[in-house]
């Protein structure tokens, strides 16, 4: 009987020990929490972009003895050509607000020639972009634009969608003694 009991106890012990080890066997499965960190730093970028079609005032003749008045909103007084509708559209496609200035590469005299020419610009928020351009704006209405940088959005040219586009219209007076092919470069400078 003693040997039988011993065997019995031994068996129970073996079973218990085996169950113990089964329950605590390392499986390689993680049982605790651990964390890792992924870091990325997105630098701010400043970028402006002209998104426009060609603004072509076409060809025409000034009525003799008169001064033609043209603008990109359909005015064509004393001008034999068609009226022009359009503008330059400038968009802030970066990730920061900017200030904006404009200038030309030619004076009106060098651009148009003739007697007493004028060249003016007007800067407004593009349709659907209320508040895109705030602060000092020399070109709230048509104003002379020249080779000196002038403020168009003195405080804020926005980058967020729906406040990031402006429209630039142009107006000019041409005397009847001007002639030839006329071109002009408008430079828009966005500053952080």
């Amino acid at each position: 009987m003693k040997s039988t009991e011993a065997i019995t106890y031994a068996s129970i012990a073996v079973i218990a020990i085996s169950l113990f080890f089964i329950g605590t066997e390392l499986t390689g499965l993680a049982t605790g929490n651990d964390t890792a960190i992924v870091n990325v730093t997105i630098l701010t970028a400043a970028e402006i972009n002209f998104t426009t079609d060609i603004l072509d005032f076409g060809s025409g003749a000034v009525t003799p003895g008169q001064t033609a008045i043209l603008d990109s909103e359909g005015t064509n007084t004393s001008w034999s050509g068609n009226a022009t509708y359009g503008n330059l559209t400038l968009e802030n496609i970066g990730s920061v607000n900017l200030t904006l200035q404009l200038k030309t590469d030619l004076s009106p005299a060098d651009f148009l020639g003739g007697a007493a020419p004028t060249f003016q610009a007007k800067v407004v928020n593009n349709t659907g972009n209320v508040g895109a351009c705030t602060g000092t704006n020399v070109f709230t209405n048509y104003a002379n634009i020249n080779t000196t940088m002038q403020s168009a959005c003195g405080t804020f040219f926005g980058y967020e969608a729906a406040i990031d586009e402006i429209a630039i219209d142009f107006s000019m007076n041409i005397s009847d003694d001007a002639e030839g092919v006329k071109v002009m470069t408008i430079t828009a400078i966005g500053t952080y």
Binding site: L43, T44, A45, A46, E47, I48, N49, F50, T51, T52, D53, I54, L55, D56, F57, G58, S59, G60, A61, V62, P64, G65, A68, L70, L88, L90, E91, I93, G94, V96, L98, D105, L112, G114, A162, F170, M172, I174, D176, D177, A178, E179, G180, V181, K182, V183, M184, T185, I186, T187, A188, I189, G190, T191, Y192
Partner: protein, 379 residues
């Protein structure tokens, strides 16, 4: 006078199908405290959209003479370096700005010129002020009702001497002097050229919806007070305005101006409009559905058919629906006769009046003549 022919072209650079051109720079900003003889190099990246001739680079500002570019032209955009070699002394204290510019290289030939974009990043060189001096920046964000408002307070010690700073923030309702919330901070010892950033959340959970103003007071020997307004939003899209006059006999647009008063986007906002006459439903319609940004004011439009309606006053119930909630308003609207019909009525009335005046005039002349004849017979 000779006639002259002028051909004007005002164009933009059109280098791809989308006919757009632009230029960019990153990063846009570095800040550096002045140290005598400081030499340091900064990295930038410039890029151009649709510029076949790449990007020209330049430096501007009152310290430009101490700045060198690694290159002044990038054919395809790319990285470049800006090295500064400052002098031993800069007499004028404060912030000196060095502008790092990138401009589309025009490369225009013949008549191909147009709009050119240029972008300017900045390197600020801060020259300490003699003695004690501090500058601060304070920012607050809009929140929704029940939230805490985040704030950012940056204090810069820009003098040559160290300072002891005692900041605090107080919140008022707009237009009121009563302090609703006060947040005080421990005293801070700041060395020259040191910057302290204090970020946290104000205990604004109990604030009702509305506009508030937060004042940040920074005592550093002198007192600097900065303020920022912020809004506590409520979950509401309100009806701000609406059309109330319509023409009889046609389909009229019915515009409703709505305002999102929540500091979060609310989508799929639409209105149901019911038109009644003395309690009887005449017609109803729905507007299109729109999404509204935080605090946005927007128009939504439905269409009101007045073809079979009399010209008179009606009642309209406007119910705005959004995200399980509604806002309603009961308003009076008016259907008018067409302007052409009204104009014809005026003509008819004017004609009748003219005829009456003419008739009276003729009668008076006849009467005068009759009296004259009678007087003549008596004589």
């Amino acid at each position: 006078m000779k006639r002259s022919l002028v051909f004007l072209i005002l164009i933009t650079l059109s280098l791809q199908l989308v006919q757009s051109s632009g230029v960019g720079i990153t990063p846009v900003y570095y800040k550096e405290f002045f140290e005598p003889g400081l030499t340091k190099t900064y990295s930038f990246h410039a890029f151009a959209t649709n510029s076949e001739d790449g990007v020209d680079l330049y430096i501007k500002g009152d310290l430009a003479e101490y700045v060198t570019l690694s290159t002044d032209h990038l054919p395809d955009g790319g990285n470049f370096k800006v090295e500064i070699s400052l002098p031993d002394e800069i007499a004028i204290p404060g912030t000196h700005k060095i502008y790092v510019g990138a401009i589309e290289a025009s490369g225009a030939e013949g008549a191909m010129v147009g709009g050119i974009a240029a972008i300017q990043g900045r390197i600020d060189i801060l020259v300490p002020y003699p003695g004690k001096y501090a500058q601060s920046i304070f920012k607050m964000s809009n929140i929704n009702q029940g939230e805490e408002a985040p704030y950012e307070l940056e204090i810069q010690s820009l003098g040559t001497e160290s300072i002891i700073v005692n900041p605090k923030i107080e919140v008022h309702k707009i237009g009121s002097t009563e302090v609703i919330i006060t947040e005080k901070f421990p005293e801070i010892n700041m060395e020259s050229k040191e910057t302290q950033n204090i970020n946290g959340m104000l205990k604004t959970k109990e604030l009702p919806p509305g506009e508030y103003i937060a004042y940040a007071t920074i005592e550093w020997g002198e007192t600097t007070i900065l303020n920022q307004t912020f809004r506590v939003g409520e979950f509401l899209v309100d009806i701000v305005d609406y059309d109330y006059e319509f023409e009889q006999g046609k389909i009229n647009p019915f515009r409703i101006e709505v305002e999102n008063k929540w500091n979060t986007r609310i989508e799929e906002v639409f209105a149901t409009v019911s038109i009644t006459d003395a309690g009887t439903l005449i017609t109803d319609f729905k507007t299109v559905s729109v999404d509204t940004k935080p605090w946005e004011i927007k128009n939504i439009t439905g269409y009101f058919d007045t073809t079979n309606l009399e010209a008179k006053r009606y009642t309209a119930k406007i119910i705005l629906s959004y995200d399980g909630a509604t806002t309603s308003k009961l308003v009076a609207i008016y259907v008018h006769e067409p302007s052409s019909k009204t104009y014809m009525n005026y003509i008819i009335i004017a004609s009748i009046v003219a005829i009456l005046i003419f008739t009276i005039f003729i009668y008076l002349i006849w009467k005068v003549n009759k009296l004259s004849n009678q007087n003549g017979k008596k004589k």
